[in-house]
């Protein structure tokens, strides 16, 4: 039975990984920004499935809730509001930016490939094994770490977001002149 379980896991992994790659390709090649946004949602979903396979259910659900849900809704809202749908058209001329982008992408891809092929499990293993996570619950583990060991980084990140909000309010405020 365990063999079937692992095979099934592999099957789901391969499907999710292929969908993630395919949908990100679709995302960058669509002309209509709304379609791009929708493909990005599909990508977020398949990445969430990968998180589930890694026993990180909390991160998976948070990913769907925050990124696929709220943030992409905001993106769609902005695209619809300023009516970009057919605005930004593809220019076929080879520009310098495109060339640089291509080179950087290829370099990063090679780097990832090198990382994959030279991977070896060195260093120490974390204390949260799959069994332990199942015992104490995923959300509890994440919460304990976020508000315990990493509370400083967590608070710094929230202050960063607060600064962003203050900045947005300042920009949106009516000028008195």
């Amino acid at each position: 039975m365990i063999g079937i379980g692992i095979g099934f896991k592999w099957f789901i992994f391969v499907v999710a990984a292929l969908v993630a790659t395919g949908s990100s390709l679709m995302m960058v090649t669509r002309k209509n920004p709304i379609h791009s946004a929708l493909w990005l949602i599909v990508t977020f979903f398949s990445v969430a499935i990968l998180y589930v396979l890694l026993n990180a259910t909390f991160i998976a659900v948070a990913q769907v809730m925050v990124y696929a849900g709220a943030i992409m809704m905001l993106v769609l809202f902005v695209i619809m509001l300023i009516h970009l749908e057919w605005g930004a058209q593809w220019t076929s001329s080879r520009s310098f930016a495109k060339l640089m982008g291509g080179i950087i992408t290829v370099m990063l891809f090679l780097q990832v490939l090198a990382g994959v092929f030279t991977y070896s499990s060195v260093g120490q293993h974390g204390i949260y094994s799959a069994q332990k996570l199942a015992e104490i619950g995923n959300t509890r583990a994440v919460g304990g770490l976020l508000y315990g060991k990493y509370v400083f980084a967590f608070e710094v990140a929230s202050i960063l977001l607060l600064v962003g909000i203050v900045g947005a309010v300042l920009l949106a405020r009516k000028r008195k002149d």
């Binding site: 696929a68 849900g69 709220a70 809704m73 905001l74």
Partner: protein, 330 residues
Amino acid sequence: MEAVYTLIEMVVKNIVVVLVLMGFVAYTTLLERKLLGRLQVRPGPNRVGPFGLLQPIADGVKSFFKEDIVPDEADKTIYILAPGISLFAALSMFAVIPFGGTITLLGRQINLVVANIDTGLLYLLALATLGEYGVVLGGWASGNKYGVLGALRAAAQMISYEVALGLAVIGTIILAGSLNLGEIVAAQAGMWFIVKYPFGFIFYLVAGLAEINRTPFDMPESESELACGFNIEYSSMKFATFMIAEYAHMFTVAAIVTTLFLGGWMGPWLPGPVWFLIKVFAVIFFFIWERGTYPRLRYDHIMQFGWKVLLPLTLLNVVVTAALVALGVL
């Protein structure tokens, strides 16, 4: 063999729950029309079958045989997908809601919940936002300016009220110490959370009404200004799918209110599912009642209320509840 039985149990549970849910959803539409009729001093639908009881079936058959129109301007794929997204989200939300304890059937212990997952509450919040995509994309893909306006309003409203919705349920998580809906129900064995955490209940009801786009928050489809808004171009079965999704969502939100604040399926004498349905329909009755009572709010008022009143209040509520739990009062 055990694995095969588990698989069969899962499939059967899924099918039964979806079919029963669809039945209740169909009759929720009739209940709404009947009750709204009574609230407006008219009888409501009463021609099809005794007391109009066959009305949902007649509605279904009618919309099935109507002409299906796809506008020229529409983004075809998304236009067709949108109602499905709405229905999918509304139905799959129900999967984590426990509607009874365990029963023994054919010598097997069966848990009366489709998926007993650990992060059930977060799953609910995640799918609630996805359901709104159906409305937003349907409105946009119709290629109609009223549709786009409805979609924009739906998106803005969802972003604004989702925060309050999430903050309103945090108190129940603090009180129950779990995100699993089964454990949240179990934690209410002594006292319902509506007693311990009454403001959370009120905030959840308000934000929930905004989430299912019901009066007084029915901005995306306000008939008098947007001529039906997001579903203006939809006809036939696609329109019906939107309608079914809307009522399924309403049923699910009522079920969530029941589970989080009204003690879920638990109650004396009667079996669990019966209590569950009684409570759910009490909440649905409230939803219909307030629709017959309140006028629609203005759009900017809804936004102001969401950000400047509801959000600070829910935040305060979370802080106070957490402090009370920490001090051991609750």
